[in-house]
């Protein structure tokens, strides 16, 4: 899942680079009676970010509360693009020291619960994590699991709202409505760059449709044709807490395959 941040930002199109036709068909039927412009934009976002294969990156997470205290965690992520389904990801925690070597494996799925395992070095065991938690917070941060998983087009219905300008960039504003019944959100408002089709900003609306938090994508960098934001910043408007993710050392097509994303790999991960 974690890996999916990439998806997040640039809306990873894990879908079907290969099985495009299949995805396309499904999508069209989903959106037929919805808003085709919103869908077309979301689809374009995913299409442009597909085909990267696998990626590797380091990430620093900074949590802050209203009192001004903050806390830092670091981890390393590997992601495998999966055709026709959500990505697979493997996250290894480096700090804090107490959880060093803990590794998290996730197979994300568009409309079903994700499959997740955690390797606990202190116990030397892999534990499966219960499944109803897509809406729950990731590592006590303001990000939930569903925020960090890939933005498969099948996950939402779309409605185009307007064109706008954000920090000098022309953007589309599209409303995403989750289809997953246990989602923590009624809808998202997504600001999408008109030129590169990447996410600039997302506003999240909670189950009672009030503005819960805002996620900003900053410092975009191009890796070949793929864009990644080096900073994610999410602010919770209800609690005053915030979380920043800083990404570095991105690498693509590093030769990872399915064998690097199973329970055995989880135990080996350091």
């Amino acid at each position: 899942m974690l890996l999916k941040y990439s998806a997040f930002l640039t809306a990873t199109l894990l879908c079907l680079a290969s099985s495009l036709s299949f995805a396309g068909a499904q999508v069209v039927s989903d959106s037929a009676n919805k808003d085709s412009k919103g869908f077309t934009i979301a689809k374009e976002v995913q299409d442009r970010d597909s085909g990267w294969g696998d990626s590797h990156a380091k990430m620093e997470m900074i949590l802050s509360n209203k009192q001004g205290q903050s806390s830092r965690r670091t981890m390393e992520l590997k992601t495998l693009e999966v055709a026709g389904d959500g990505d697979k990801s493997l996250t290894v925690f480096h700090t804090p020291r107490d959880v060093q070597g803990t590794a998290f494996l996730s197979y994300s799925h568009a409309l079903e619960a994700d499959e997740q395992w955690l390797y606990l070095p202190a116990l030397k065991r892999v534990k499966r994590i219960s499944s109803a938690n897509k809406s729950g917070p990731f590592l006590g941060s303001e990000f939930s699991f569903e925020d960090l998983s890939s933005f498969e087009v099948e996950k939402y219905t779309y409605e185009f709202i307007r064109e706008d300008t954000l920090a000098g960039n022309r953007v589309f504003v599209v409303q995403y409505t989750p289809k997953y019944s246990h989602s923590g959100y009624t809808h998202l408002e997504v600001w999408i760059d008109q030129k590169e089709y990447l996410f600039r900003k997302i506003e999240f609306y909670d189950r009672k449709a009030s503005h819960l938090k805002t996620l900003e994508f900053n410092e975009y960098k191009a890796f070949g044709k793929y864009w990644r934001a080096m900073e994610y910043k999410v602010s919770n408007h209800q609690t005053g807490k915030s979380t920043i993710l800083n990404w570095q050392d991105y690498a693509f097509k590093t030769g990872l395959n399915d064998a690097d994303f199973n329970k055995n790999a989880l135990k080996r991960a350091r």
Binding site: K66, S70, F104, P121, L123, G136, F138, H182, R207, Q238
Partner: protein, 787 residues
């Protein structure tokens, strides 16, 4: 201010009467326009100054973890069973719906409680109850056992025998508009109604801090809507009967309205919020303003009944009353300003509004009132035997003179007797008890406290020694020991702690082996269990409300039974002592609304003691200067101080609970009770100095001159403050009652103790101080002379 100056001033007022009337109306409209800014606050934090240390600690706590404002639904199935498919379905429905509550961030109930269970080798974290209708008897029994044995739930969301349950909604108010609290409260009440309609087996009650906040605003609004009109009615009737003149009554009415509207408007211009205490300001201003008008109009009408022309009667009334009214207004203002020493901003605000109101009432009394009376038709027949009306008081005066010696001793004994009960009072601010039993919040909170959980909590932020340190076995053990200590207090009903969660996790990680219900033995293990658990929790049910971002501190929430402020303070101290001796290496901070209210009473009374003393000194100097006698000024201390002593003594005998508002009474009433003394003594001294009467004759003179006005103003004042007693808000009703007792006691003391005292101490024939004989006996048609 010499007498001739006053006469010249009075003539000026009559000459420019239309100008004065117009200017007054314009001024009132201008000031009153500020009323558009007035709004009711709905936050109990309004009772605390920004720099209040307990409030600061609480704000820090809330900013570190999450806010703990809440709405608590207490559900009582009439068949006494929570664990039936029907009741559990209702709980689940309510839990789902509760997420829609405006500004809610979290909902906790027995159905969405995140139960941990070992399934094969995996940790399963899921809602305790997901499909209540599919449960059979055995499953219901199993769930009941889990719920009623889980320390996080029992006596919080479920009672021990499984007959009452609760759903808690955590609310985070943005604090941007004043509609937030009512929005959430209205939603919750509607939800309760829907629930009762669809499940008639349920009794539904609503408590929690948000409901309390809503009740604050509602109590203030209700007071303003019902008590103020009632007070107007009482005053108009009393004044009408006393003055027996429509125009005079109308003038009084307008004077009062003007004073209130302008004073409240000026408060509104400052952009401050109304609270239940400040909402009682109009009633107090009303009460105070009546006195000025009554003194002026009684003399005026008395003169007219004695055959004076209207103009002369007005001038004479101003001449005679200017000084006493000025003095009494000044001392009253000082008394109310002493409330600025209060630690409670709404009480300081109340003091300031009333001080402004009293000042305005004085200004309007000596300008607008005579000007208006001058233009209104007054039909009064001159009466020859008018002065006989005073016979009752004349008789009382004679009696006092006759029995002065026994009276002196009896009254002193009575005063000492009552005052001796002052120490029986106890400072106490129990915020639930601020509301009387006509308020649903009070009734429901009492029920919840009796059967499940009270609104009184103390939160402890227990700091570890480093980041991530909450996973350290020594830390967890210290927390666990602390919690075990808390549970030894019989007054502690529930403790919510992360250490219990850790023990439960350890058990589940060991195949749910009950013997493994203990803390993990290594830091890494604990940290990784925690990580696993945190990664398993769904939306809104995370641990952020218990653990800080650094994982360096946890919040322990202790709920107590209903306790008085003193009990809370003693409990806090006892716990602090334990912390210092048993876990000296850990920093532990305590904070909560309960602690804030427990401390405010003591802080408030200490600071008010200072304020009241300063006011007393100022007022005494004013009296000495005004009466031009140090000796009489010193004697006046006795009737000025004894009424509060008697009132607090009586209060100690019958009630003894001194909340933040009752503690302002001594200072506040000082300025009022002084008024009686001023009126009485000024007439007494006038008789001694200007007429050369001895103490006994001068006493009789004073009885005849001001007795009736004192009785009437006291009646109005007592009536006014007794109307406050009708408030459903105890801060107002207690303050009203103690104030009313004080004022009534003041009159009795002024009539029965002050004269014997004067006759005993003021024996020397008085050579009028610097006596300018021409000065005051002066005007031949002086109204001062009883006919």
């Amino acid at each position: 201010m010499t007498q001739s100056l006053v006469v010249r001033y009075a003539k000026g007022v009559l000459r420019f009467r239309w100008l004065i009337i117009t200017a007054s109306i314009m001024g009132v409209i201008l000031a009153g326009a500020g009323g558009k800014n007035l709004a009711f606050t709905d936050d109990y934090r309004a009772f605390f100054a920004k720099e209040n240390p307990q409030l600061e600690a609480f704000e820090a706590m809330q900013n570190t973890y999450d806010k703990s404002d809440n709405i608590l639904f207490v559900l009582t199935p009439k068949d006494g069973k929570v664990f039936t498919p029907q009741t559990l379905s209702s709980v689940q429905w309510l839990t789902e719906q509760a997420w829609q509550t405006p500004y809610s961030t979290r909902v906790d109930s027995i159905t969405n409680y995140q139960h941990t269970e070992a399934i094969e080798d995996d940790l399963n974290v899921a809602d305790l109850i997901s499909e209540p209708n599919a449960l059979n008897m055995a499953q219901l029994q199993k769930i009941k056992k889990i719920a009623t044995e889980e320390p996080l739930l029992v006596q919080r969301l479920i009672n021990t025998d499984g007959s009452i349950t609760a759903v808690n909604i955590t609310i985070q108010l943005p604090g941007k508009t004043l509609t937030e609290v009512p929005e959430a409260a209205i939603f919750a009440r509607d939800l309760a109604k829907q629930l009762k309609a669809q499940d008639p087996n349920l009794e539904v009650r609503l408590t929690g801090l948000l409901m309390m906040n809503a009740s604050f605003a509602e109590a203030a609004q209700k007071d303003m809507a019902t008590l103020i009109p009632l007070m107007f009615l009482v005053v108009i009737v009393v004044v009408g009967v006393l003055l027996r003149s429509f125009s005079a009554t109308l003038s009084t009415f307008l004077l009062i309205i003007f004073s209130i509207v302008a004073a409240m408007g000026i408060f509104g211009w400052q952009g401050l919020k109304l609270t239940p205490p400040t909402a009682s300001a109009p009633i107090i201003i009303l009460t105070m303003a009546v006195a000025d008008a009554v003194h002026l109009l009684v003399t005026f009408l008395w003169n007219m009944r004695n055959g004076e022309t209207k103009h002369n009667a007005l001038i004479e009334s101003l001449r005679v009353n200017m000084m006493p009214i000025f003095l009494t207004s000044a001392t009253t203002i000082l008394g109310f300003l002493s409330m600025n020493f209060s630690e409670v901003p709404p009480l300081a605000d109340l003091g300031n509004i009333v001080a402004v109101g009293v000042l305005l009432a004085f200004v309007f009394s000596i300008s607008f009132l005579p000007a208006l009376v001058a233009v209104l038709p007054i039909r009064i027949k001159a009466q020859t035997n008018f002065s006989q009306k005073n016979t009752a008081l004349n008789k009382l005066g004679q009696l006092v003179i006759h029995k002065r010696k026994p009276l002196l001793w009896v009254m002193l004994a009575v005063s000492i007797f009552f005052t001796a009960f002052v120490p029986k009072n106890e400072i106490n601010d129990e915020f639930v008890k601020y509301f009387d039993e006509s308020v649903p919040f009070r009734v429901d909170s009492d029920y919840a406290a009796k059967h499940l959980i009270s609104a009184y909590t103390i939160e402890y932020s227990f700091n570890a020694q480093d980041d991530g340190g909450i996973a350290e076995p020594a830390y967890l053990q210290a927390v666990s020991n602390f919690v075990a200590h808390l549970k030894t207090y019989p007054e502690v009903s529930h403790v919510n702690t992360f250490s219990d969660t850790m023990k439960r996790l350890n058990k589940s990680m060991h195949g749910d082996d009950p013997s493994q219900y203990m803390l993990p033995d290594s830091r890494e293990l604990a940290a990784q269990y925690l990580l696993l658990y945190e990664m398993s929790l769904p939306y809104g049910l995370d641990l952020n409300n218990q653990i800080d971002v650094n994982k360096s501190a946890t919040r322990i929430t202790m709920t107590t039974k209903n306790l008085s402020s003193n009990q809370v303070l003693m409990l806090e101290q006892s716990i602090e002592k334990w912390l210092n001796s048993h876990v000296p290496d850990y920093k532990v901070m305590a904070a909560s609304p309960t602690l804030m209210f427990a401390h405010i009473g003591v802080r408030n009374s200490h600071s008010l003691l200072g304020g009241t003393t300063i006011a007393l000194i100022f007022i005494s100097f004013i009296l000495m200067a005004a009466l031009r006698s140090i000796k009489i000024g010193l004697i006046s201390l006795i009737p000025n101080l004894i009424p509060a002593g008697i009132a607090f003594g009586i209060w100690g005998m019958v009630n003894g609970q001194v909340g933040m508002s009752v503690s302002v009474v001594a200072g506040m009433t000082l300025g009022i009770v002084v008024d009686d003394t001023v009126h009485f003594l000024s007439k007494y001294l006038r008789a001694r100095r200007e007429k050369g009467l001895d103490a006994q004759q001068a006493t009789l003179y004073a009885f005849n001159q001001v007795g009736q006005a004192l009785v009437v103003t006291t009646l109005v004042l007592v009536a006014g403050f007794m109307i406050l007693v009708l408030s459903s808000f105890k801060l107002n009703s207690d303050m009203g009652l103690v104030t009313a007792i004080t004022i009534a006691a003041a009159l009795i003391i002024d009539f029965l103790l002050l004269p014997p005292l004067l006759m005993a101490l003021d024996k020397k024939p008085l050579k009028a101080v610097g006596k300018p004989p021409a000065q005051a006996i002066s005007t031949p048609n002086s109204a001062v002379e009883p006919a």
